[in-house]
């Protein structure tokens, strides 16, 4: 058994940034990161640039081996945690190693949800999550139009499964590489699990304008190998019986943390690992941060699960401080903006529809930009009740991200301006920030 002061499960941005924060505050402590990947920290965000040929593999890596040595952070690669015993303060790994911790951080991140249909194991079906995923796509792209030699293999058609951010990234990367791209979404309309019909139409129009076909209401029944290379995907067949010939498939149907190994540990789980505003779990000396944490968001006053890079890095700093005894409330408005074909789609704050009391829509499909603002009523000591903006989904209307973020952060009462919010000409910068 190995004894460590600070044990971190997860070598992504959360675990690494927390380790760095802890090292800064506790120069003499021992810090161990257990990572189930065989690499130092790299940027998942850069994987699409890597695929598009705009970033090298070297750029994708954010930390080198020397960094861990200089900071005396022991990165144990390629090990997965298997059992947590909170009473004994131990974590057991799949390889049999047992670590005893004083403080434990669960920075487990998330994994893409895999499609479990016949043919899922075929080559050239990528999830764009790991370096290996990116390399698989790069290899598949080697036969594309732009690098094709006469008589050489030809990769021309790509199918993207799923609306959403990963799907957008795939579609953009495929298109940049000259691939004829079709997006299939299982919802009634494109990205229907998160967007309303109008916002969906705004994004779909941008995609179609850039030559991408978008087909909704089609779920994958199976993948079939190609005639020339039966080990690689050659066709997607949907449940309705439609067939889409392809040389490459990108899948983005959601992410999920792997929490199965925590069963029986007594830790409270509700979609993610439940924490308070200090990112403390219900178990003593056990903390959670990043994609896997369902934390208490002090701004919107509710539990919140966020899967963005900035959220992960910021939570890591807060939890690192708390773990070393500098108790720190995590307080931030999360925001993520995807940029594709000179357009954007942003999610800000709390965008779970059932959390809000009302949703206001600004803009129209014809204008090509729509902001949907999520409002919630809160009790107020002065006036009895107040209405605050808690989140927004902003389709191609980037200028509204900053004022909406400010309004959420500053808990602005919008009751007086409620009716004006739906008017796209009403400048959100004029909301009173008290």
């Amino acid at each position: 058994m190995k004894s460590v002061d600070f044990l971190i499960v997860g070598g992504g941005v959360t675990g690494t940034t927390a380790a760095q924060t802890i090292r800064g505050l506790r120069p003499d402590s021992s810090v161990v990161i257990l990572s189930d990947e065989p690499y130092e920290l790299y940027s998942r965000i850069l994987l699409t640039s890597y695929i598009r040929g705009e970033a090298t593999q070297e750029q994708v890596f954010l930390k080198r081996n020397e960094w861990y040595q200089e900071n005396r952070i022991d990165l144990v690669k390629g090990v997965s945690a298997q059992k947590l015993d909170a009473n004994a303060h131990t974590v057991e790994c799949a390889n049999g190693d047992v670590y005893q911790y004083k403080k434990l951080l669960l920075a487990l991140g998330a994994r893409p949800i895999k499609l479990n249909v016949p043919g899922s194991e075929l080559g050239n079906i990528s999830y764009m999550w790991t370096i290996e995923d990116a390399e698989e796509v790069i290899n598949a792209l080697k036969g594309t139009n732009e690098s094709r030699r006469p008589g050489g293999p030809l990769t021309r058609r790509g199918v993207v499964i799923g609306g959403g951010f990963i799907g957008l990234e795939f579609a953009h990367a495929f298109k940049v590489k000259g691939i004829e791209t079709t997006i299939l979404d299982g919802s009634e309309y494109y990205w229907g699990n998160r967007l309303d019909k109008q916002s969906s139409q705004v994004i779909q129009n941008i995609l179609e304008k850039n030559g991408i076909s978008v087909i909704a209401g089609e779920m994958v029944e199976k993948f079939v190998g190609s005639r020339e290379n039966p080990q690689n995907v050659g066709k997607v067949i949907t449940k309705s019986g439609k067939e889409f010939g392809c040389d490459l498939v990108g899948v983005g149907v959601g992410i999920k943390s792997d929490l199965g190994w925590l069963e029986g540990s007594g830790i409270k789980i509700d979609q993610g690992i439940v924490t308070n505003e200090y990112l403390e779990t219900n178990l003593g000396d056990v903390y959670a941060a990043g994609d896997c944490a369902n934390y208490y968001d002090v701004i919107v006053e509710g539990q919140h699960l966020v899967g963005t890079w900035a959220n992960a890095a910021t939570q890591a700093v807060a939890v690192g401080k708390t773990m070393t005894g500098v108790k720190t409330v995590f307080e931030a408005v999360c925001a993520y903006t995807a940029r594709f074909f000179e357009s954007t789609c942003s999610f800000v704050g709390m965008t779970e529809a059932d959390f809000a009391d009302e949703v206001v829509t600004r803009g129209t499909v014809a204008e090509g930009k729509i902001s949907r603002i999520f409002l919630k009523n809160y009790p107020s000591t002065s006036s009895g009740s107040m209405t605050r903006i808690v989140g927004a989904i902003i389709a191609n209307n980037f200028g509204e991200v900053a004022p909406i973020t400010d309004a959420i952060k500053n808990k602005v009462d919008v009751s007086q301006n409620r009716d004006k919010l739906a008017d796209a000409n009403f400048d959100l910068h004029s909301l009173p920030i008290s």
Partner: protein, 74 residues
């Protein structure tokens, strides 16, 4: 003299992930193009600035020693 950074943002690399803004809000802000800009070079602590730069997923933030001009990150 206390250490100070000269801070640059490579706008071609910046994708507006905004971890820098979250970690050093007095130093970084997003502009109307969703790119980080530098508000001040000494409003946050050097540790916060360093962490903000290192948290950037595209290595778009460049830190130089203000005195020597030597690049310190990335």
């Amino acid at each position: 003299m206390a250490k100070k950074y000269r801070i640059k943002v490579d706008r071609d690399l910046c994708i507006g992930a905004a971890s820098c803004v979250a970690l050093a809000a007095k130093t970084f802000q997003l502009d109307s193009e969703n790119k980080a800009i530098v508000l001040s070079e000494d409003a946050d602590t050097v540790e916060a600035i360093r962490l903000a730069a290192e948290s950037c997923p595209t290595k778009a933030i460049i830190l130089e020693d203000a005195e020597t001009g030597k690049q310190e990150y990335p």
